[in-house]
């Protein structure tokens, strides 16, 4: 059962990753990346890392990819497919670096992963991967990274605002702020009611008798 899910999720992850680099339309590339990230979350779940799986979906698929979607919308949606930037040097460089990365991964897998094939795998402790266990680790072993994350988020916030300002997105205060006081509209300055009825006056002065259902209306009742 677990093997079936592993292969579904694994194939999904690979297909998503291939989709990201092969589709030309930026929106489809973003969607492929979302599919890839969801498959990764499923793999984490199979590894019993519940919290990491949930965080993967909430933070990556739910937040980071939202930013990507907005960026795609900001630079102009489906109208123009991505043009390949850079010359032949970039293409050669990309292939070389991809090959190097692949070799590195193979070394890592062959060097350590295959030896573990016949073993029982890492021992499983009760509560592994639950938020409680993660919280304990945050407060003991990974205390510094936990607090550093907060600091990094602060820097990121500053960075986002600075970038937006450079783009001319933020200038001065907003003149369209809500009026501090609600000033009642003077009579005869164009409310919908005045336009329709041709009469000028406060609603109370113009009040009409309430509409009541005629007696014996057969549609009535619950």
């Amino acid at each position: 059962m677990a093997a079936v899910f592993f292969f579904i999720a694994g194939l999904g992850a690979i297909a998503g990753a291939i989709g990201v680099v092969t589709t030309r339309n930026p929106f489809y590339a973003v969607l492929a990346l979302v599919g890839h990230l969801l498959s990764l979350a499923a793999l984490f779940l199979l590894l019993r890392a519940e919290f990491v799986a949930a965080a993967q979906v909430v933070v990556y698929a739910g937040a980071v990819m939202v930013l990507y979607v907005f960026v795609v919308a900001y630079v102009g949606g489906q109208a123009d497919p991505v043009r390949v930037a850079g010359g032949p040097a970039l293409k050669v460089g990309a292939v070389v670096f991809a090959a190097l990365l692949a070799i590195e991964l193979f070394i890592a897998v062959l060097g350590s992963g295959l030896k573990a094939l016949d073993s029982e795998g890492a021992p499983y402790e009760a509560g592994f991967g639950t938020p409680g266990a993660i919280g304990e680790l945050f407060l003991t072993r990974f205390l510094f990274p936990f607090e550093a994350a907060s600091f990094l988020l602060l820097i990121a916030a500053v960075g986002a605002v600075v970038l937006a300002r450079r783009r001319g997105g933020l200038v001065g205060g907003d003149p369209r702020d809500l009026a501090p006081v609600d000033v009642p509209r003077p009579l005869g300055t164009g409310t919908m009611r005045e336009a329709v009825s041709g009469q000028v006056g406060t609603p109370a002065e113009l009040a009409e008798p309430p509409v009541t259902a005629p007696a014996g209306d057969e549609r009535g009742g619950w």
């Binding site: 937040a63 960026v71 607090e147 994350a149 602060l154 916030a157």
Partner: protein, 121 residues
């Protein structure tokens, strides 16, 4: 792990089934037209005068900024949950760590607010 989540998988399967039925039911029960529909029918919805705005139009920087800030605070929330679970167990120590964590984000929040990034335009 899978066993705990088995009902969730069943739910997702059932949801997909219902969704697929809803999506396809017009093909089964709906009227079938042989002729291709007219251009006017195939057009996307339009109201009033035909407008110049095309579908690929650009969106304001506000969307981008809001999404950026959302990432920050979303990570904050996700980080806070595990620590919140352990708050009682670790007592004062966890409290201090939580306060430091939130305080740094409050600084970020105040900065963002003062810089006008929360004004929608």
């Amino acid at each position: 792990m899978l066993r705990t989540y088995l009902p969730a998988i069943v739910f997702v399967g059932l949801g997909t089934l219902v969704g697929a039925i809803f999506t396809m039911m017009n093909s089964w029960f709906g009227p079938k037209r042989k002729r291709t529909p007219t251009t006017f029918k195939q057009d996307p919805y339009e109201c009033g005068l035909p407008s110049e705005v095309q579908q690929g139009f650009r969106f304001g920087i506000s969307f981008y900024l809001i999404a950026m800030l959302f990432i920050l605070f979303d990570i904050e929330v996700v980080f806070l949950y595990p620590v919140a679970v352990q708050l009682r167990a670790f007592g004062t120590f966890a409290l201090i760590e939580t306060i430091v964590f939130i305080a740094l984000l409050v600084v970020a929040f105040v900065y963002v607010w003062r810089r006008g990034a929360l004004e929608w335009r």
